[in-house]
Amino acid sequence: MKYLLKRLLMMLPMLVGISLVSYVIMNMAPGDAASMYVNPEELRNQVSIDAVREKLQLDSPVLVRYAAWLGQVLQGNLGYSYISRQPVASEIAARLVPTIQLSVAALALELVVGVSLGIFCAKRQYRASDNILSLLSFVGMSMPSFWFGMLLILFFTLRVGWLPSMGLVTVGLKGPWHVLLADRARHMAMPVIALSFAGVGSWLRFQRASFLDVMGQDYIRTARSKGLKEGAVTWRHAFRNSCIPVVTMLGGSLPGLIGGSFVIENMFGIPGLGRYGTMAVLARDYPAVMAVTLFSSILVMAGVLLSDLLYVLVDPRIKYS
């Protein structure tokens, strides 16, 4: 409990750090957010530009503005989007859910498939099935996830027409909850598979290596010499121990997962944090960009914390204090 509090408190300076970094980067912009607000016809009219600059407080030094931003955030005010004039907080809130759904589903899929294929390969070391899967795992790690997404669209949408390639729901679809759920699943299928493909490859390689390592340990020989069945040796003695390195890597894989979901959301038109963030970046919508930075960092950090807690479940020897 104390450990949890300590970890949560440690997240605060990190969030301040990352938001400061992105605030400063954005302020190196040669362009000016104010000029985007003025009617192009009046762009040479310095008075209207100055009016906007004043309204958006673009004239104070960077650190002063950062401090002001931070003060507002601490009071729960994320500011208003320059573009839509809506409160950023409510815009973000609506977009968190699709991103979380997408990343959690992809992570779960890649872990389940990667870990089980890893064990499968380790049990058939150097046989044809192991060689082919190991090769495929390299292929998965070596392609951009959005390109794999394109191949999926080429086949499942354009060739056989099974799956929709845009959005999260069929517009205007009404019906009982299971119809809506199935519709959602059909929309999420390709993004989730595209996002998880690279991960499947790397988890397969980790799990294969660590399973082989565990299978060479003395306690496995002891378990076998006791006359235990192979299934019991694999699942009761080897499986849990072989998962430890995978869980260790879990936290480190999260920034990549969120980064990948940013691209995938853009490609499949999913209204999540990544798509919102990309639009905001392209439009120099500072309050929105800052909010996306903040929330994507919180997502990653919360995930890292969860994976550290998961560690205790896999390896009871570990005690946090």
Partner: protein, 292 residues
């Protein structure tokens, strides 16, 4: 054991071990071939990369591969796709290699300094590394790219600046191990300066795992560049890069699927080759590796 074995230089031994890994050798061959093609792009490509041939498109749609005049077809403006692929390779490969160089230039000095001097320097560097590796850096790369003029050099520098953490960690770990070795002790006893010891005694011995990690960085940078260009924040038209070509390809997937397939295949081949090479190098450079 023959005496000939002992005569071989360390370099030759590494090369021999590397040559035994067929996938790694194939990877190296593909990579060298594509790099040569990209370097000689103006010589091997039949057209300038931005030459339009709208008149050759009968119905306004891109020409498919194996058309007369255009071996790999054209894009929506009638630009020769083979030419675009070769010139795109120029961009993508140079982003890959140069941003790996940037990350080496940041990661090695920081890692060695942290490992060698220890104490506060070590803690500071390691905290900073940890910080950078547990934030969603892709979004920061995105922000930085939108802010600075979208030139190829900015893309390289920015990707490099956010991906040196693995290299730094490797360099530090090697340095921690090496600085306790007798030959470093003797160098210290002889009164050499810290800088000289790091440069002459530690750096050469710490390089091999760092090189492996840098190989993987090249693949990471190429894939990241393609994502950036796909989002419209990397290499800009009319200059081709494999990622930028994928972006255009997506809009024409229905009528011209090859436009989306070809550049992706090239990225896949290069990244795959680099991953195989990294694997082969890891085994070849490890003197304790068991012969298989």
């Amino acid at each position: 054991m023959t005496t000939e074995k002992y005569k071989a230089s360390p370099g030759a031994l590494v090369l021999r071990r590397f040559a035994r890994n067929r996938l790694a050798v194939a990877g190296a061959a593909v990579l060298i071939l594509l790099t040569l093609l990209a370097a000689a792009a103006p010589l091997v490509s039949p057209f300038p990369y931005d030459e339009l041939h709208m008149g050759d498109l009968p119905d306004g749609n891109p020409l498919p591969p194996l058309s007369p005049k255009y071996a790999l077809g054209t894009d929506q403006f009638g630009r020769d796709y083979l030419t675009r692929c070769v010139f795109g390779g120029r961009m993508s490969l140079s982003v890959g290699f140069l941003s790996a160089l940037v990350s080496l230039a940041i990661g090695i000095p920081l890692g060695l300094a942290a490992g060698y001097f220890g104490g506060a320097a070590d803690i500071a560097v390691m905290r900073f590394t940890e910080f950078l590796s547990c934030i969603p850096s892709f979004f920061l790369i995105l922000i930085a790219n939108s802010i600075f003029h979208a030139s190829i050099f900015n893309v390289m520098a920015i990707i490099g600046m956010f991906s040196w953490m693995g290299i730094c960690r490797q360099a530090r770990a090697q340095c921690l191990h090496l600085k306790e070795q007798d030959f470093v002790m003797s160098a210290r006893a002889m009164g050499f300066s810290h800088f000289y010891i790091i440069r002459r005694y530690i750096l050469p011995n710490a390089l091999s795992p760092v090189i492996v990690s840098a190989t993987l960085n090249v693949a990471y940078a190429i894939i990241t560049e393609s994502s950036l260009s796909y989002l419209g924040l990397g290499v800009q038209e009319p200059v081709p890069s494999w990622g930028a070509m994928l972006k255009a390809g997506q809009d024409y997937m229905r009528v011209a699927p090859w436009m989306a397939v070809l550049p992706g295949l090239l990225i896949l081949f290069v990244a795959l080759s680099l991953n195989f090479m990294g694997d082969g190098l890891r085994d070849a450079l490890d003197p304790r590796a068991v012969r298989r």
